[in-house]
Amino acid sequence: MSDLKLKHLEKVYDNKVKAVHDFNLDVKDGELIVLVGPSGCGKSTTLRMVAGLEDISSGSLIIDGKDVTKMPPKDRDIAMVFQNYALYGHMTIYENMAFSMMLRKEDKNVIHQKVLAAAEILDLTSQLNKKPSQLSGGQRQRVAMGRAIVRTPKVFLFDEPLSNLDAKLRSATRREILLLHKRLNATMLYVTHDQTEALTLADRIVCMSMGHVQQIGTPLELYDNPANLFVASFIGLPPMNLFDVEIRNGKAVCADFEVDLSEEDKEILLPYEGKTVTMGVRPENVTEGGHIGVDVFSNENLGYNTLVNGTAGKHKITCKFRDWCTYKAGDKVMVSFTKKHFFDKDTTKAIR
């Protein structure tokens, strides 16, 4: 396995559309990096540039200390797992997994051992004589991963591999990818638009929007200390509640409620006294009991949690309570905020 360096990577298409702007990333040996962002943010383009499926307009790509920017895909020693599996329908699972090595004219006995080892890791041994059409979506995706594993590449690339699976299977396959990463200790670059996948899988997350990197950090860093409003609203489910508030005498004040600031918040918001900032509160940081009245309009029981949606005056609020709640539309619930995030209204950057 190897480290991967993306230096000032940019992608400009022939029609002058710039899909990726100045992308910089150092991936350490054995690290699992997740590129996350909404559709069209440039994450798949970045991955395809690493794979060699897209030309790099400027910047350089270094794998294991070697500049591979201009190198054709077959020479980069990279394996890619696609969303649609890309399996050969007329071949058996065994043949699908062995195919790339057969093309490289590797020894048949070695190929056999590698395929069996990969099949054992992925629990596919009993499926080796079947055709892809006889397997479930999850099993097919495991075959696609197996095909990548057998090559023992320097870097694994995953392009939204779980998007075609149903929720239950997605969760199970996600765990398998995590186990696989721990077992192989492989360098992996994983693209998804699903922030749950990003938070559960990643060693570090790269959050992207409009071709720009918004923040790079561990899942906890992105969740707890979002760098800007985009990251704050993108990471976390349900998304963060956002309010425009004025900082006034140690309080965040809006038309419908006011909240006291902690000493720490007061200090960092000192330059914003009398100004309007954006205050973000995660639904899980809204607790029952307090002085902010929320008029409930829906109550969604999720088992362990309850999502209560309501309004505080004109402001919509989503609350995530750790109880089984039975609020009805029209009920009023009093809440308070335990943790708040503040963002500059003009730059959208976090105020720290």
């Binding site: 065994y94 043949e95 048949k108 006995n109 056999h112 051992q113 069996l116 054992e120 080796l128 004589n129």
Partner: protein, 167 residues
């Protein structure tokens, strides 16, 4: 995964790979047979010799191609019966050399003006005999190898089953 010996790997591979090479040899034998009958039918030899038997010849060639194709699929999937079928077809192909080509080579040409010649020339005889010969060899080799590989696979499977029961 436990380390396997080379011989065991070779046997184990049979469980997951098809006997494609030898199945393709049978397909090649069908091609050789096609070359044979095309050569016969497009010359006077066919008209002469097959005045009564030409229908049977066409039917035989059709049946041969069908059975050989089935044998090819069977050998590919390690079905021992099709291995034997391939050998029988191979022997029949070899036998055919001594039927039409050989007789036509030794029969004087009845056409006026073609005295002192035979129905089939030496050059044509060599060509069709080689076609049939190659076809026969390919079928026999594919059949024998298919049977051997199938037996190896079956005994290996039995061994695996025995080991799994013991475990």
């Amino acid at each position: 995964m436990a380390e396997m010996k080379v011989e065991t790997i070779r046997k184990d591979r049979l469980r997951f790979t098809k006997n494609k090479l030898f199945a393709n040899l049978i397909i090649l034998s069908i091609v050789m047979n096609a070359l044979y009958f095309v050569n016969i039918y497009r010359t006077d030899v066919g008209n002469y010799y097959y005045s009564l038997m030409i229908g049977a010849s066409v039917v035989y060639n059709l049946v041969f191609m069908l059975v050989a194709f089935l044998a090819s699929e069977g050998v590919k999937n390690y079905k021992i019966g099709y291995g034997y079928a391939a050998i029988v077809l191979g022997l029949l192909q070899a036998g055919r050399i001594f039927y039409l080509p050989m007789n036509a080579l030794n029969t004087p040409n009845p056409k006026v003006g073609a005295e002192n010649t035979t129905v089939m020339t030496g050059g044509q005889f060599s060509f069709v005999a080689i076609c049939l010969g190659i076809s026969a060899v390919l079928l026999i080799v594919a059949g024998v190898t298919g049977i051997m590989k199938t037996m190896t696979l079956n005994s290996y499977r039995a061994e695996l089953e025995k080991n799994s029961k013991r475990d």
